[in-house]
Symmetry: C2
Subunit: 136 residues, 2 copies
């Protein structure tokens, strides 16, 4: 099926593009994942970030286990149409599976990567609870 | 040569990872390009964004033609060590080869991608002048 939004994107040889999720009001970059046509289409329809999990080879509705849904505010692409940028509102303030706000918590300092952000919630707790309840 | 920073990154099958450049004081995502070991090493040594150009298959010192250098403030990686996030100060306020502030100037609106950001400087002018002068 043709769709001006999906057809304009230059999907890579695996049918994917990177998608950046940014917290809409603070500008913090939360994470990067991948989308295929189906994921982008679902994201737009459902108003929440839906990625393509390369490891599980299936759609990944962000927050489906953890409750940490990313509510979509806006979506952009770049001049080359090969990256997506999502403005989202991160439920629970936790995007990372490590229980941190952002996945980008490791900063180059003195020639090594240093963890510079606190764990907000223990991942064991997030995913144990998440199995029973899909949303926050 | 071993290096804790370079060795920690999970380079893809082509030896690359995506690198996001973000304007350090506003949080605007400026662009996404690619880095290999050599590019990341050069970025850290030179204090400016150096990417790997997949089309030209060589290092790309951002701003080498346009003068639109990205001065490095900070660099992070994510929980999977397969994406880099650079906080930069964008010289000239123009990251995009189209003459716009950010490459992410196309927003989904009503089922199509709409240009929503002004061209600050004509690309013809940027690159004609750029050929003669490498820095701003």
């Amino acid at each position: 099926m043709t769709d001006p939004i999906l057809d304009a994107i230059r999907w890579n040889e695996s049918g994917l593009v990177p998608a950046i999720a940014q917290q809409y009001d603070t500008g913090r970059v939360l994470m990067v994942a991948w989308m295929n046509r189906e994921a982008l289409s679902a994201t737009l329809k459902e108003g929440r970030a839906v990625y393509w999990s390369r490891s599980r080879q299936k759609l990944w509705r962000k927050g489906e286990e953890s409750g940490h849904v990313q509510h979509l505010r806006e979506i952009r692409t770049d001049c080359d149409s090969d990256v997506l940028l999502l403005q989202v509102d991160q439920a629970g303030g936790i995007a990372c599976h490590t229980g941190r706000h952002s996945c980008f918590y490791r900063r180059q300092e003195g020639g090594v990567w240093q963890d510079v952000e606190p764990v907000i919630r223990d991942p064991g707790e997030i995913y144990a609870k998440g199995a029973g309840g899909k949303s926050v």
